[in-house]
């Protein structure tokens, strides 16, 4: 059992590496010609959106609670990492190392915010929790509008351009892998039990509040990391970027992909974040189409496109070669 699972981990690492090499091959041979830089940019956007959406899915899909304030954590990560990277710039640190430190700082700040928000807010459930998360996110936004160090409501610009696609790809893979391991461990199990029935979970000896706050914090941490990549990709930002609509957009990407499916979050986020670029000439109709898709998904596939289904390389290989064994990761 353990051996098979470990083998499937190895297989997935190889799969991730393979996809990476494919990208390198495409980009380095300039298959896209003049638009290589542009497409690389879209892919970077996809990377940070995947991290944000997957982290929100921890709360929405696995814990089963609404959060309509994820953009708040993203903004904490974005601003913190931007401040850290500009403070450390020119100190002789290699760029990649600088980037990592900034992202970790952003994640840590968002995580701490997650604890501070989670402890009071997670006493509420359902619609009320959704409202309180909106309120917290708005408070965070107003704070950034008033702090001098974050531009005092004006654009904060001149952030280092550190978000290189190749780096972001591996950071994204790492983040998703960690979230995957979290979900498939005792933490994920308890959180799912809480989602199913919090009263029964407490009656099974689970400290409901503790595990909820913990999951919320982990989600906030990764939202912060995603925000860090965002900041160092955009190089300029304003607090209104992280308003209620951004939270709603992230939530809808989770739902379209599938609540409780990290695969859904990855594909949903990758697709939806590249959509604005692909449909640039119809930008006027883009949000119209997007909202219609959202309603259609809700009507015909309320659990999202992928439901709780997870992609498994092991399963595919088993099917292709008909090998025996209990492989699911």
């Amino acid at each position: 059992m353990e051996k098979q699972i470990k083998r499937s981990y190895l297989l997935n690492v190889l799969g991730v590496l393979f996809v990476f090499l494919l990208f390198v091959l495409l980009f380095e041979n300039r298959v896209f010609g003049a638009s290589t830089q542009y497409i690389k940019g879209i892919c970077t956007t996809a990377c940070y959106t995947i991290i944000m959406v997957a982290s929100l899915n921890l709360v929405v899909g696995f814990m089963g609670e609404f959060s309509l304030g994820h953009a708040g954590f993203v903004s904490v990560g974005a601003y913190t990492s931007a401040i850290v990277s500009s403070a450390l710039a020119g100190k002789g640190l290699p760029d990649f190392f600088l980037f990592l430190v900034a992202l970790l700082a952003g994640g840590a700040a968002a995580g701490v915010t997650g604890i501070l928000v989670g402890i009071p807010a997670l006493r509420l459930r359902g619609d009320y929790l959704a409202i309180v998360t909106v309120a917290f996110a708005e408070i965070i936004r107003v704070c950034f509008c008033n702090f001098a160090i974050t531009g005092g409501g004006k654009t904060m610009s001149g952030i280092l351009k550190l978000s290189d696609f190749y780096w972001c790809y591996w950071i994204m893979a790492g983040c998703v892998a960690i979230m995957y391991m979290y979900v498939r461990s005792r933490f994920g199990r308890t959180v799912k039990a809480i989602r199913e029935d919090y009263i029964a979970a407490a009656a099974s000896g689970i400290n409901v509040t503790y595990y909820k706050v913990m999951t919320f914090t982990v989600a906030a941490f990764f939202a912060g990391v995603g925000g860090g990549i965002y900041a160092h990709y955009m190089t300029a930002m304003i607090p209104t970027n992280f308003n209620f609509m951004y939270s709603a957009e992230l939530l809808s990407e989770v739902i379209i992909g599938g609540t409780g499916s990290l695969t859904g979050s990855i594909i949903g986020a990758a697709f939806l974040s590249s959509l604005p670029e692909m449909t640039r000439q119809f930008s006027q109709y883009r949000m119209l189409v997007y909202s219609i898709i959202l309603v259609l998904v809700m009507i015909f596939k309320p659990g999202g496109i992928f439901g709780t289904w997870e992609f498994s390389l092991t399963r595919i290989i088993k099917r292709l070669f008909g090998t025996k064994g209990n492989g699911g990761v």
């Binding site: 929405v60 609404f66 009071p120 807010a121 006493r123 509420l124 359902g126 619609d127 009320y128 959704a130 409202i131 309180v132 909106v134 309120a135 917290f136 708005e138 408070i139 107003v142 704070c143 509008c145 008033n146 409501g153 009263i199 209620f244 609509m245 709603a248 939530l251 809808s252 739902i255 609540t259 006027q284 109709y285 949000m287 119209l288 997007y290 909202s291 219609i292 959202l294 309603v295 809700m298 009507i299 309320p302």
Partner: protein, 296 residues
């Protein structure tokens, strides 16, 4: 703070709050009966405002009284509300509150972007239907439309209360949130009740749009979202689902905003939200609400 400044602030707060209250009534009405946050409610206000913008000149040119366009706005809003309910909300009603919430967000997005495509992104000025004077009371300027807005709010609140408490339809409305299946069993047409609820809730948005436009005559396609969020918070503050709560919540939010603006202009939104959070944590069902726990 001088007395006249204080008094003026109270008036300004009421002015702001009365409009929140009118919008909040619609939120509370729908939530009270369907247990759904209708995020598109703010956008119904936008629709009402655009209807006013287009119909007032028509009425004036046709030599008819301008206030007839309010009727037009009420009809348009009620129609849009019913269509949104039937086309989008009804199919997801069984799918759980997460789907309902997302659908409502999607409809809000849809209406805003549809309005942009149809009417353009440029703000438009709505002609005033009536021009009420501002009078001087105790050294403070009191625009009479504040009085009118509050008056309309109280009338609507009382009317809704009566409707829900006394009429047969109102009784059916109260039974639906208690137990939907049992309501069906005693012969209540739940779909009809919900449709009527949306028609009334959306018609309230048209009235709110009118009062909003007399205060701020600007119409934009996204005017509803921020306004809606604040009004929604007002409804929650007062106790969502409770009609007098919406009135109370709206006026409180207005007063809080104006008074905080006096001392910390950059922070008024944050403080409003902070108060909301505190109230929800202390009493999740709002100021006038009753706490109900889950049965084990």
């Amino acid at each position: 703070m001088t007395f006249s400044l204080f008094f003026q602030s109270v008036i300004n707060g009421l002015n702001q709050g009365a409009i929140y209250a009118l919008i909040a009534l619609g939120y509370t009405m729908v939530y009270g009966i369907i247990r759904m946050i209708n995020f598109a409610h703010g956008d119904f206000i936008m629709i009402g405002a655009y209807t006013l913008f287009y119909t007032i000149p028509l009425m004036v040119n046709a030599g008819m009284p301008a206030w007839l366009s309010v009727l037009a706005a009420i009809i348009v809003c009620a129609l849009v509300g019913v269509v949104v309910e039937v086309v989008a909300y009804k199919p997801v009603r069984q799918a759980g509150s997460m789907s309902a919430l997302i659908t409502a967000l999607a409809m809000s997005l849809f209406l805003e972007n549809l309005a942009m495509v149809l009417f353009g992104a440029k703000p438009q000025n709505v002609q005033k239907i009536f021009d009420l004077p501002t009078i001087n009371v105790l050294g403070a300027a009191l625009p009479l439309n504040v009085v009118l807005t509050i008056f309309i709010g109280v009338i609507m609140m009382a009317g809704l209360q009566l409707f829900i408490k006394k009429t047969k339809m109102g009784k059916a409305m109260r039974s639906v949130p208690q137990d939907r299946d049992a309501s069906v069993l005693v012969g209540i047409n739940v779909n009809k009740v919900i449709t009527v609820t949306f028609a009334i809730g959306s018609a309230l948005a048209a009235v709110a749009a009118l009062m909003y436009c007399t205060k701020y005559p600007r119409v934009t396609n996204d005017m509803g979202s921020m306004m809606g969020l604040k009004a929604f918070i007002a409804a929650v503050l007062g106790g969502i689902g409770i009609i007098p709560g919406a009135m109370l919540g709206g006026i409180l939010v207005g007063l809080i905003e104006i008074f905080v603006k006096l001392f910390a202009p950059g922070w008024y939104e944050a403080i409003t939200y902070a108060i909301l959070i505190v109230i929800l944590l202390v009493k999740p069902s709002g100021i006038l609400g009753k706490n109900v726990g889950e049965k084990v």
